[in-house]
């Protein structure tokens, strides 16, 4: 009986180890040790990268001499506190775009799970036949580097001294900043109501703003309440304007009598630095046939911006905000090195867009 129990435990352990091996992509690795097709070569490389086995992934490259290994790892998991450093590669899809006997072009969709939600990264990769197997030619985009220099930063900073706990009654605090919602538009999308618009800080001090909306039905009954969460630039400098967007999933506009807006502002310490330039903004159609707003971000300060967040308001011919879109950039913003960004634009909205306004929110390790 004792021997039988030992055998059962041993067999169960073996089974669990085998299951873990299969789940970690071991079977796929084993099957594709020698990639017989371009797709297998890319899949093998991505599987190794997914399991952080970068030595094996790097060994799969055709152009190892041209690709720095640390840069190769950075391509997958970022650097300098960028969004990819807080991400893990959950899954990927690979499909061919073009192929012949010697080389092939493939597109890979990398699906990351990040600190701010899912992130899809599309990459076009080349594969080349190397004797009896295929290997991946990794793109060698040499990141531009800034020459050593001193960048003087002398922009303003606001600090706040609040009322102390020991102060007598009547010693007032400094007032909260005055903010104003300058536009609001409620629209029906396929599966939700979207409330969007813009808010301005009318005061002479920085404000931390949040915009909330309450959907009211007949008899002014509250049907739903939401806030703009991260679809707004929360810290607004004096006279700065930010778009906002509030989604109400599963709601229908016909059932709504009115919308009650609520803008809250708090006085916070803030800095006018860094200034981020948004260059070359234009609406394009991407490789998948979707409309996107693309551009370049340029950090004019000397500090690294870890996680840039782009929020774009789109206007129709009458200057009305008809859509607000946002997107996180997976790369950090190094000083004065442009980084491209793209945010989605629904096709039905794109036809009506006459102009747009982009603001850049940023999350920095130093300030957080």
């Amino acid at each position: 009986m004792r021997r039988l129990t030992a055998i059962i435990i041993f067999a169960a352990t073996l089974g669990l180890v085998a299951l873990a091996w299969v789940n970690s992509g071991g079977m796929a690795r084993e099957r594709m040790q020698s990639a017989q097709t371009p797709e297998e070569a890319v899949r093998l490389l991505l599987t190794e990268a997914q399991s952080h086995n970068f030595d094996a992934a790097y060994a799969r490259l055709q152009n190892r001499a041209e690709v720095d290994k640390s840069a190769f790892i950075r391509d997958f998991y970022g650097s300098n506190g960028s969004l990819l450093t807080y991400a893990s590669l959950e899954s990927f899809d690979v499909w061919g775009l073009h192929a012949n006997d010697r080389e092939a072009t493939l597109r890979a969709k990398l699906h990351y799970s990040t600190a701010v939600g899912p992130l899809d990264d599309f990459r076009d990769l080349k594969a080349e036949r190397d004797e009896n197997s295929w290997k991946v030619v990794w793109p060698t985009t040499r990141a531009p580097k800034l020459a050593p220099q001193v960048i003087p930063v002398n922009y303003l900073r606001w600090d706040v001294i609040n009322r102390g706990a020991e102060d007598d009654w009547g010693v007032q605090n400094v007032d909260s900043p005055q903010v104003r919602i300058i536009s609001m538009n409620a629209i029906q999308r396929a599966d939700s109501i979207v409330v969007l618009g813009e808010i301005v800080n009318e005061d002479t001090v920085p404000a931390y703003v949040t915009v909330g909306a309450t959907l009211l039905g007949q008899n002014q009954t509250e049907l739903a309440q939401e806030s703009s969460f991260d679809k707004i630039s929360h810290t607004l400098l004096p006279k700065q304007v930010s778009p906002y967007r509030i989604d109400f999933p599963g709601m229908r506009l016909e059932k709504i009598k009115s919308v009650r807006m609520d803008a809250k502002a708090m006085l916070v310490p803030a800095s006018a630095d860094p200034i981020i330039e948004v260059n070359k903004q234009r609406v394009e159609t991407d490789a998948l046939g979707k409309k996107i707003l693309v551009g370049e971000l340029a950090n004019q300060s000397g500090q690294i911006v870890n996680i840039p967040h782009v929020i774009a308001a789109f206007y129709d011919a009458n200057g009305k905000v008809i859509w607000v879109s946002d997107g996180y950039v997976d790369q950090e913003l190094l000083p004065q090195i442009p980084v491209t960004f793209a945010v989605d634009l629904p096709d039905d909205v794109a036809a009506k867009v006459q102009s747009y306004h982009v603001v850049v929110n940023h999350y920095d390790r130093q300030s957080s």
């Binding site: 007598d168 400098l237 700065q240 330039e277 948004v278 260059n279 070359k280």
Partner: protein, 293 residues
């Protein structure tokens, strides 16, 4: 409710019943003055002989002590620091209650509420100042007192106006000055005074104008000194949004004003149109050629 509060309520209920069912004709009595000043010692004449128990019940305190009847019963100032209605109950075989009122002492401190702490220039009745007059024991001084409100702007002579308190409160509405800068707002009674600072700030930018020059691959754009319609400089840190449209697309950059102007270098190729805005105020348009053309 706490156990202590329950006990206090029971004591008060018992005392009230004692007082209600007492027969004053045969009982010792106490005769407090009708009006007493908060924090001031006084005495209450009493009738009867022998010893009795005095309960003194005020708005925020309760005391009990043995007293000798037939003479003046002294009450210390710290027993009557809180203004309001007091009940003195003197108990021998029976209990007799008398009431008296404690009024606030003379003004000893001021609380000044000024709102807002920042106000745009030339805004009528935008500043409100409310003064509360207290005695040394935190009682609101309800008798009328004249409070002097004084505004001390940085570049003008002081302005003063008096207001008489009503129920301990005096208030005044003020129009902000046309010149930006801090203004000290003071409320005073005799030697007592309290000061608050109101920051009078420039209004929205008025007649926002930009000019520029181009160099290789860049256009330098700068605002004229940004002022409001009263001629005050808009505070540094106020954001001016520059927008440049050229063949490569649109470029936007939010630049804070520094030393009165906002300036930026924007990469541009060929013909470019540049606009500027600060909040909801827009400036002039500028057509320039970048890229060294």
């Amino acid at each position: 409710m706490t156990g202590k509060a329950h006990r206090m309520r029971d004591i008060l209920r018992s005392l009230a019943m004692l007082a209600a069912f007492a027969t004053p004709a045969f009982a010792a009595e106490v005769h407090p003055p009708t009006q007493v000043t908060a924090g001031a010692s006084f005495s209450m004449p009493s009738s009867g002989t022998g010893q009795g128990t005095l309960y003194l019940i005020g708005p925020a305190n309760l005391s009990k002590r043995q007293v000798t009847l037939g003479g003046d019963i002294p009450v210390e100032g710290d027993e009557v620091e809180h203004a309001g209605r007091y009940t003195a109950i003197l108990c021998t075989d029976q209990c007799v209650a008398s009431t008296f009122y404690v009024h606030a002492n003379s003004a000893d401190r001021l609380s000044l509420l000024v709102h807002p702490s920042r106000v745009p220039v030339s805004d009528p009745n935008a500043i409100s100042a409310v003064a509360f007059v207290w005695d040394a024991y935190h009682n609101l001084v309800l008798s009328p007192v004249n409070v002097k409100f004084t505004v001390n702007p940085t570049e003008h002579a002081s302005l003063s106006e008096g207001r008489t308190t009503s129920n301990g409160i005096a208030w005044i509405g003020l129009t902000s000055a046309a010149k930006s800068g801090p203004a000290n707002l003071e409320a005073s009674i005799g030697n007592l005074s309290e000061v608050r600072v109101v920051q009078q700030v420039a209004s929205d930018a008025c007649n926002l104008r930009i000019h520029g020059s181009s160099s290789a691959r860049k256009i330098m754009v700068e605002t004229d000194p940004v002022r409001d319609c009263s001629g005050n400089f808009v505070p540094d840190g106020t954001v001016v949004s520059f927008t440049l449209t050229d063949a490569a697309g649109k470029t936007t950059v939010d630049v804070p004003i520094k030393k009165g102007v906002a300036k930026v270098e924007i990469p541009a190729v060929g013909r470019a149109r540049i606009t500027a805005a600060s909040g909801v105020v827009t400036g002039n348009e500028l057509d320039m050629t970048g890229g060294g053309e």
